[in-house]
């Protein structure tokens, strides 16, 4: 198994009452509520958490990015990836990921990622995402071409990594006279690419066609099983058998010394009123053209306040469905076993705490995970034969059948 530590890097020093009063905590919620003094403290705490996660035995650190919102302080995951490349020694740096459609110059992204891969001595896993709906607006990128830009930027980056330059790229959304970056990845053919997602079938299908592992973001167990049914059927169509090495899952999992404390802290996973990516304004989170046409009816009703958020669920429901797990190590381990048995992922991210959980409690949580939970999960992984892409030497992609290796001499 590949066990990762994750935090959204919550901006837990913002005035929550102001967010509730405004009715949304993304896009248009004013950055006058951002306190850079607290921001500086929090960024440095988060760096310490990452270093501790490596120390206690996590295999990877998962990073992401979001914009214009307090639920996530990372505005550029490559910045933290660069820091970790230089300040950690062993962990994989797993970006889930860079929002490709937001990039106006994918070659620049390819360069940054290649630099991170070299500085980290080949520890980069470079996931890609579409970016949230409101982030298209935050960056002025056309939501109607989100998926086209995603696929085209992906093609350009992989070519920049694998094809000797100079070459010319004439796409629909990206045109580059000369592609010839003097920074290429250490890992050959290129760093692994994993694709996280929560809702869109199109993304699952696309990932399966590329043979990229798909990382389900805190979906309920039944929904996760449906994701793997779909992924495996596309895999079969594409000529390979889907298995644990193609499956990842991000589990919200908070552990503490007592059940009561764990449960109280786990409520902080709902600090954005249960919204995954901040208390959302339905129109901003779902701009026209961004979401799958198959959800159009549900989203237009949600947008005018007639339907409930298709993506939100209550705390108690999320506990019942194990989208959130909380407790002492002793009580969370059987729940994790159920997750592994029923959905068989080999990549497991631990989203350990959120919101206003104190620095001390977060630190305790990371230690308890490392000392008591990870060893048990590793044993289960062996017993259930949940071999990660690294353990299974899985190919990078359907078109690159070799596993990635650092070049000699690194």
């Amino acid at each position: 198994m590949h066990l990762m530590y994750f935090t959204e890097q919550p901006m837990s020093a913002y005035p929550a009452d102001e967010g509730r009063k405004f009715g949304a905590t993304a896009l248009m919620f004013s950055n006058k509520h951002f306190d850079p003094v607290a921001g500086s403290r929090l960024y440095n705490e988060y760096i310490e958490h990452y270093r501790l996660a490596e120390e206690v035995g996590f295999d990877g650190i998962m990073l992401n990015e979001h914009h214009n919102a307090p639920f996530c302080m990372q505005a550029k995951c490559n910045v933290f990836a660069s820091i970790l490349a230089a300040t950690t020694k062993r962990v994989k740096i797993v970006l889930l990921g860079n929002p490709l459609p937001l990039a106006d110059n994918p070659v620049r992204l390819a360069e940054e990622l290649a630099m991170i891969d070299m500085v980290s001595r080949g520890r980069l896993v470079s996931g890609f995402v579409r970016g949230g709906g409101q982030e298209q607006l935050a960056t002025g990128v056309n939501p109607a071409y989100n998926r086209e830009r995603f696929e085209e930027a992906h093609e350009l980056i992989v070519r920049a990594w694998t094809q000797a330059g100079p070459f010319r790229f004439e796409g629909t959304h990206y045109q580059h006279r000369v592609v010839n970056p003097w920074a290429v990845p250490l890992q050959k053919p290129h760093p692994r690419i994993w694709i996280p997602g929560v809702l869109s079938k199109e993304t699952i299908i696309w990932a399966a066609r590329q043979r990229y592992p798909y990382i389900a973001l805190s979906t309920a167990i039944d929904a996760t099983k449906k994701i793997w049914e779909l992924y495996d059927s596309i895999a079969a169509e594409s000529g390979y058998t889907g298995g644990p090495e193609n499956r990842g899952y991000l589990q919200r999992c908070h552990v503490a010394e007592t059940e009561e404390k764990a449960l109280a802290n786990a409520r902080q996973f709902m600090w954005m009123q249960g919204e995954f990516t901040g208390l959302a304004h339905p129109v901003w989170s779902s701009p026209s053209g961004y979401f799958s046409p198959s959800y159009r009816k549900a989203f237009v009703e949600y947008a005018v306040g007639r339907g409930s958020n298709p993506r939100a669920a209550a705390f108690e429901d999320q506990l019942r469905d194990q989208q959130i797990i909380a407790g002492t190590p002793k009580t969370v381990i059987p729940k994790l076993r159920r997750l592994l048995e029923e959905t068989r992922p080999s990549i497991l991210g631990f989203w350990a705490s959120d919101g206003f959980v104190s620095n001390q409690d977060t630190t305790t949580c990371i230690r308890l995970l490392g000392q008591e939970v990870l060893p048990a999960v590793r044993e289960m992984g062996k017993e259930l034969e949940l071999w990660s892409p690294f353990e299974a030497n899985a190919p990078v992609s359907i078109s690159q059948p070799a596993p990635p290796v650092p070049r000699n001499g690194a």
Binding site: N142, V283, S288, R296, F299, V300, E301, V304
Partner: protein, 265 residues
């Protein structure tokens, strides 16, 4: 305002032109008047259309990607729509056409006029988008819901409810979403204007009427003044008791203005 007793009997057809298929409605008799609808699309029946049809052959295409017209995946700009409509006019052999552009359709009409400086009998722009306002901003529909956006186009909320009901149907919302998606595809950035339009308007020799609802909250009234300055043969007329959707709030008054203006020629 009076409401037409009987619905207008449109003839509807799908016309293949250039790389697209355009749903075209026509009704009435007289000189041809090409009506270019708003970004929200248009209801099929409006008292305004009935009033126009008494004097003109009203030609009402659904813009590519809007209402019933299929979306051309290649289309990237409002100018593309304008070029396509030039081809539609040529294909159908219409001549001496008067152009009427409503809001977003006004932008398309203005682009068409720059392409054919003497090609039209008259040009009427009502609350037209297309120019960068010298003060204020064009309302960004990406930040408001479908209902809020359409409501903002009416000076009088009751007029919105008379037209679309207080609680528009889900089918209507879905159509507004489809239309909004097409607007994003062709007018996302810069939003709702073309920086190269204003200088080109200086070459237009077609007489133009610029009409603006006094209560327009979607496109700042200063854009009307900008159009009037940019178009050499133009005049500006402000309509009371109307917002952006002048044709839905003051159908008789606007129709009268248009008939008078086109008849002058």
């Amino acid at each position: 305002m009076s409401v037409a007793a009987a619905p207008l009997a449109w003839t509807t057809e799908d016309v293949s032109v250039a790389g697209a298929s355009v749903r075209l409605r026509s009704a009435g008799s007289g000189a041809p008047l090409l009506v270019l609808h708003h970004d929200i699309g248009t209801p099929e029946q409006l008292p305004f259309y009935a009033a126009l049809a008494r004097r003109f052959t009203v030609l009402l295409p659904s813009h590519p990607g809007y209402d019933g017209s299929e979306r051309p995946a290649w289309m990237r700009s409002v100018r593309d729509v304008a070029v396509l409509y030039q081809a539609l006019i040529a294909r159908r052999g219409w001549s001496d056409v008067a152009l009427l552009g409503l809001g977003f359709g006004g932008w398309i009409g203005a682009e068409m006029a720059t392409m054919a400086p003497r090609g039209f009998r008259r040009l009427v722009l009502v609350g037209a988008m297309g120019l960068k306002p010298q003060g204020g901003e064009i309302l960004d529909q990406a930040l408001v819901s479908y209902i809020e956006y359409v409501r903002a186009g009416f000076a009088d909320r009751a007029a919105f409810e008379r037209q679309f009901s207080a609680d528009p149907s889900t089918a209507q919302l879905e159509q507004w979403d489809l239309n909004r998606e097409m607007t994003f595809r062709i007018a996302w950035k810069p939003y709702m204007y073309n920086p190269t339009l204003a200088p080109l308007l200086g070459g237009v020799e077609t007489p133009a009427l610029i009409a603006w609802g006094r209560g327009d909250r979607v496109v700042p009234a200063v854009c009307g003044e900008q159009y009037a300055r940019a178009l050499p043969k133009s005049r500006l007329s402000v309509v009371d008791g109307a917002g952006h959707f002048v044709e839905m709030e003051q159908p008789e008054a606007l129709a009268k203005l248009i008939v008078q203006f086109v008849d002058e020629s």
